[in-house]
């Protein structure tokens, strides 16, 4: 495999979709909004009843941290839909497939194009979140809450979730013929993670370190399974003759 080819394809895709407003909004606004919103909740939440106290903070932050698993599930949908369905719509895939690149190189290039901006956005959002949380909780806790192991595991889960989301979006892109449908279908990826969040909120599951490691293991297995499916879908003959 010629990784240089994959990198060339990734850079081209990134150049194309950073000009798309929808993609930029998703990349910048969602992580930024959540990373600022949660510290604001800690700082100003429950002011009428005396504010959030020090002992209440860790449980709240535990819930908020999970959103940095949800973000990488959401972000790839609009980017991947432009990367693959967009290319289908511009009818440029045939020409790309006629170059001396392998299916794997193209698929890797498309995945890198989605992965890099999405992981940067997620980690940037998480960094802002941790810095702001430390700033607003230090006086109440008497110590810096972040960095800690749980957030470390969350940040390790993020790329696994991102990969799963990219693979799902590749499979979805082979079945739809417009960017919006691809984006909406791919976006459904966040539902299971919202489900886990709600389950933790009502006490069905506890998102402690052990639970996070188990979830990480399950996602890694799913990543491998989806990788097999996505590579079987992304074959040049199928793309040219079977893709919608």
């Amino acid at each position: 495999m010629n990784l240089r080819h994959s990198w060339i394809i990734a850079l081209k895709d990134i150049r194309i979709f950073i000009r798309k407003r929808t993609v930029l909004y998703t990349l910048v606004l969602l992580p930024l909004l959540l990373s600022v919103l949660f510290p604001l909740v800690i700082e100003y939440g429950g002011k009428s009843s005396g504010g959030i106290t020090g002992p209440e903070i860790p449980a709240l932050l535990h819930s908020f941290e999970w959103f940095f698993v949800i973000i990488p599930a959401i972000i790839p949908a609009p980017i991947a839909s432009y990367s693959i369905v967009g290319e289908k719509l511009e009818k440029s895939l045939e020409r790309l497939l006629a170059t001396p690149t392998t299916d794997g190189e193209i698929l890797l290039g498309k995945s890198i194009a989605v992965f890099i901006p999405a992981i940067i956005a997620t980690y940037a959002g998480a960094s802002i979140f941790m810095a702001l949380i430390d700033a607003v909780t230090y006086s109440k806790l008497g110590y810096l809450y972040y960095p800690n192991w749980d957030m470390g595991i969350i940040l390790l889960l993020a790329p696994l979730v991102l990969l799963l989301s990219i693979e799902l979006n590749i499979i979805t892109s082979s079945r739809v013929s417009d960017v919006r449908s691809a984006s909406q279908l791919g976006g459904l990826m966040f539902l299971p993670f919202i489900g886990i969040y709600l389950a933790s909120e009502i006490g069905v599951v506890t998102l402690d370190t052990n639970a996070l490691l188990i979830i990480g293991g399950v996602i890694a297995v799913l990543d491998l399974a989806m990788f097999r499916i996505s590579t079987s879908v992304f074959q040049r003959e199928q793309i040219l003759t079977k893709w919608k």
Partner: protein, 308 residues
């Protein structure tokens, strides 16, 4: 340069290309004529290693189509102008070309040189930094051809390169193909534009799932019975009619002062026919060869059910 033997492609039981055998020589402009759905694009896709063949053999520049290792070598040697221009509309003309140049592992200086040369040749240099989305259809088609040439391929596959172009843009593209021919590029041209095929192709194959005929445009015209020699005489003359019939070259009919002689090759037979007319005392006002064109040949051949 390109060689196929009984090349066949089936999709879920439907035969798109059936037992096609042909050979394209180096530096030749080879036209592939056929109606929509005849299998032209499928053949090009097989030869460009984009889809697999069901059976038969095909070689491009000596490499086996269908052999995984050879596929990359073939794709490195060829350029493809697909039936859709396939450009990245939000990128500039230069960036589109630079992207493909990189994928063919051209160095930066090679890319700069070939991009400048091609864009200047196709009168797109002034627009090199403009997003392709603002281009007219003709400009996009010219850029699509330039993209296929950025790595200086030996063989160029073109799928309907002048379809949907206005006459002026189509002429520019045709002239460019003729320039490429002068550069000894081998060009495989899918088209259903008969006039275009006749003007620029050295040889033409007519395809309608099976290969119906192959030859130079002139050979194909001649292959259809229907070209006739029409002789306008000053006066009708039974002796002239008998003399021409006695030659046994083909069907002869007379209508008023006009003799119509149907032969396999009028250009070869005319001297003998005119000699017989003179000898029989006939006085000739005019001689014309009329009849089948490439269009006649094409229509007849694509409608035939039998394989040639």
């Amino acid at each position: 340069m390109i060689e196929t033997e009984s090349l066949t492609k089936k999709f879920d039981g439907l035969t798109a290309v059936d037992g096609v055998t042909f050979r394209v020589e180096e530096g030749e402009v080879f036209g592939f004529l056929g109606p929509n759905g005849a299998g032209k694009t499928t053949t090009v896709r097989m030869l460009c290693c984009l889809i697999s063949k069901t059976s038969g053999t095909a070689k491009v520049a000596g490499y086996d189509v269908g052999n995984g290792a050879d596929s990359l070598k073939i794709r490195r040697l060829i350029g493809l102008v697909p039936d859709n221009v396939g450009l990245y509309e939000s990128l500039t003309a230069y960036d589109n070309m630079d992207f493909y140049g990189k994928l063919y592992d051209r160095t930066e200086s090679q890319r700069k040189e070939s991009i400048a040369a091609l864009l200047k040749m196709l009168e797109l240099w002034e627009k090199k930094d403009v997003p392709v989305a603002t281009f007219s259809k003709g400009m996009k088609q010219k850029l699509a051809i330039a993209l296929a040439l950025v790595h200086d391929p030996q063989i160029l596959f073109m799928d309907e390169p002048t379809a949907n172009l206005d006459p002026e843009a189509a002429r520019t593209v045709r002239d460019f193909i003729l320039d490429l021919k002068k550069q000894k590029k081998t060009i495989f041209l899918n088209t259903h534009n008969l006039d275009e095929a006749q003007r620029i192709c050295d040889r033409i194959a007519i395809l309608n799932t099976t290969l119906r005929a192959m030859g130079t445009p002139e050979e194909l015209e001649r292959s259809v019975q229907g070209r006739v020699t029409v002789i306008q005489l000053e006066q009708s003359n039974d002796a002239v009619l008998a003399a021409v019939k006695n030659l046994g070259l083909g069907d002869v009919s007379a209508e008023g002062n006009k003799l119509t002689i149907s032969t396999a090759d009028p250009e070869k037979a005319n001297a003998t026919i005119l000699d017989a007319v003179f000898r029989a005392g006939g006085r000739i006002q005019s001689v014309n060869v009329v009849g089948s064109t490439l269009e006649d040949a094409y229509l007849k051949l694509v409608r035939e059910k039998e394989k040639v």
